[in-house]
């Protein structure tokens, strides 16, 4: 009975995943390229691999997968979103080969499930506090100011050197990796405000839309989304404790709102999975792709 329920659960999650992926256009199957290119440092293995999970890490994994299959014909790598929780539970169940996550497996899964997974840290990812364009004169928030703003102790931009404008907090859902990372690293675990001046939006895209439409709005988004030319002109990016939100400052650890991007496998990887993870850690991705997408390379 327990076994049966579990399997049903897996099916249901897979179905939900599929629906979520379709609705947010998160599925991006990458077909094998026709012309094999002998790129340097690429170990080609044929086969088919599916990765899913974190939407913060998705742009990077997706771009790397496209490059890999272009270099290696006969391999197919599909990269889905779905959220860190989905990535972790699906890789633990064995329904996908790689689970992408912003947070560690131990923080989400039960201990036996978490212990069955092997962690591959592939990048550093940074987040930036952004505001609506009408919030003029605020270019920096200290950690303490962020705590005051996000817990609702301060409700007007006037109090932190801005215009006389109510603060509207735009959260990601409390289950999201972005939100829990921000809460841990900046708010020190303090409980966020709730109520009429708070909104919750599902994705980086929805957050960006809500900020542009709401006077006095503030939120937190990934570097990759902030540096997208389509978004950058619509938002004010803030310093944190006087430190610029740049990849360089993430790499030298002076900017603290950053975390590892994890790719989990069930047990040690083999075949195409191992080759692709090796490619993620190789010079092509770490040296070229990662900086171009505003991620930080992993520490050597």
């Amino acid at each position: 009975m327990i076994n049966g329920t579990r399997r049903l659960g897996g099916l249901a999650i897979a179905a939900m995943m599929f629906a979520a992926a379709c609705s947010s256009a998160g599925t991006s199957p990458t077909p094998a390229g026709s012309a094999p290119v002998a790129a340097t440092g690429v170990t080609c293995v044929t086969g088919s691999v599916t990765a899913a999970g974190s939407t913060a890490l998705q742009p990077l994994v997706d771009a790397a997968a496209k490059q890999y299959v272009k270099a290696c014909s006969g391999s197919t790598i599909t990269v889905n979103g779905g959220g860190s929780g989905t990535g972790l539970s699906q890789v633990a169940q064995g329904s996908i080969q790689i689970g992408n996550s912003d947070v560690t497996a131990a923080s989400k899964l039960s201990t036996p499930d978490a212990n069955s997974l092997v962690d591959h840290i592939v990048a550093r990812q940074g987040w930036i506090v952004v505001t609506n364009k009408k919030v003029t004169g605020v270019t920096n928030l200290t950690t303490q100011q962020n705590i005051d703003v996000w817990t609702g102790r301060v409700t007007n931009w006037k109090a932190v050197g801005g215009p006389d404008l109510p603060i509207v907090l735009i959260f990601r859902p409390s289950s999201s990796g972005t939100r829990s990372t921000f809460k841990k690293l900046v708010l020190g675990g303090a409980t966020e405000a709730t109520g009429g001046q708070t909104l919750t939006e599902d994705s980086n895209g929805a957050v960006t839309t809500a900020i542009t439409k709401t006077d006095g709005a503030v939120s937190v988004i990934g570097f990759a989304y902030y540096n997208d030319p389509a978004n950058k002109s619509l938002l004010n990016g803030l310093q944190l404790d006087g430190v610029d939100a740049t990849v360089a400052n993430v790499s030298n650890a002076s900017y603290k709102l950053a975390a590892d991007g994890h790719m989990y496998t069930k047990g040690q990887p083999s075949g195409l999975t191992a080759a692709f993870l090796g490619y993620m850690l190789g010079a092509d991705v770490q040296g070229t792709l990662i900086p171009s997408l505003s991620y930080g390379p992993i520490a050597k």
Partner: protein, 327 residues
């Protein structure tokens, strides 16, 4: 059994029955279709009920806690508390106001189509309604997000108050700090359920026998008196069915609502404030939680609540129709 025997006898008079006749394929196919449909519904009900009860059975959360107003599922900020009342209330509030807006409009439109409109007007309005039904919910949500949300926050940003001379302020509520609000959700939903309520009520009015209309008019009543005293009472059960169907559609809508309500997991103080609904919260959290953890169990409990709403609605519609048959 008797039929089989008869069939066999007739068959034996002509020739031995063929294989296809003996297994009676069409009957089996139809039977299979019916049983598999029942089976799927039964499995679905069982699965959602079982998953929805895990929060109580496995995680030991009390019903009192689930009905409390505090949604704090995150164990990193202290003891989790799975109060889903804000979501149930949000669904009820947003759906309720949508029905208040949409029902008079839809029933009025149905009456116009069935009793007042000349043929050429009906020929325009009916296809227009069908197009309405076909517009995907994401488009309604997007329109709401692009037009309605900025409109509300720009136009009604200040406190909304009604003052009477001598008496002073009789009513006041905070303005739209942001346009993302309970009212925005209700307005989007009211447009979405308008064609559902209209078309089902229209059918109910058309089903009223013509003799009742002519009889009433022969007594010298005006058209309005006929509508009010004859048609509306006669079609009441059909109109109620239409409203319940509209309610089910509104309560189950996730995407369009999520885009405009702001998804703030607290009980709203006013119609100008952000709210959240059961469907919206499930979609927000399902990708980021893992199967079997209490947080996701709470989402399944919310699914169970939605299922109960939907089953109750179906029962209600059946009850209404039964009473109509009876009377």
């Amino acid at each position: 059994m008797a039929q089989v025997t008869t069939a066999n006898r007739i068959g034996s008079l002509r020739a031995a029955p063929g294989l296809l006749e003996r297994i009676d394929l069409p009957r089996r196919v139809v039977f299979l279709a019916a049983t598999s449909m029942i089976g799927i519904v039964a499995l679905l009900l069982t699965f959602i009920t079982w998953q929805g009860l895990q929060l109580f059975l496995k995680d030991g959360v009390s019903i009192g806690q689930v009905l409390s107003p505090t949604w704090q599922p995150d164990s990193t900020s202290g003891t989790p508390n799975f109060g889903v009342l804000p979501f149930i209330a949000g669904t009820v509030f947003v759906t309720g106001v949508a029905l208040l807006i949409s029902t008079p409009l839809s029933v009025g439109l149905a009456l116009f189509l069935s009793e007042v409109a000349p043929a050429w007007a009906r020929a325009i309005v009916q296809p227009a309604l069908e197009i309405f039904v076909g517009i995907p919910s994401v488009v309604w949500g997007w329109l709401g997000l692009t037009i309605l949300v900025p409109f509300l926050s720009d136009t009604f940003h200040q406190k909304i108050a009604i003052s009477l001379p001598f008496v002073g302020e009789v009513f006041s509520m905070p303005g739209f700090l942001t346009g993302f609000s309970w009212l925005a959700g209700s307005l989007v939903l009211s447009v979405m359920i308008l064609p559902t309520i209209t078309s089902v009520s229209y059918d109910a009015f058309r089903a009223v026998p013509q003799e009742l209309r002519t009889g009433s008019l022969a007594l010298g009543t005006t058209r309005w008196q006929t509508i009010r005293h004859i048609l509306l009472p006669a079609a009441m059960s059909g109109v109620l069915t239409a409203v319940v169907l509209g309610m089910t559609r509104a309560a189950g809508e996730a995407l369009a609502v999520q885009m405009v309500i702001g998804n703030s997991p607290t009980l709203p103080a006013a119609i100008t404030q952000p709210v959240t609904t059961l469907t919206s919260q499930i979609t927000l959290d399902m990708g980021n939680t893992v199967f079997g953890e209490p947080w996701q169990d709470a989402l399944w409990t919310m699914s169970l609540v939605l299922l109960i709403i939907s089953v109750t609605s179906v029962m209600l519609v059946r009850l209404i129709n039964k009473r109509r048959m009876g009377s």
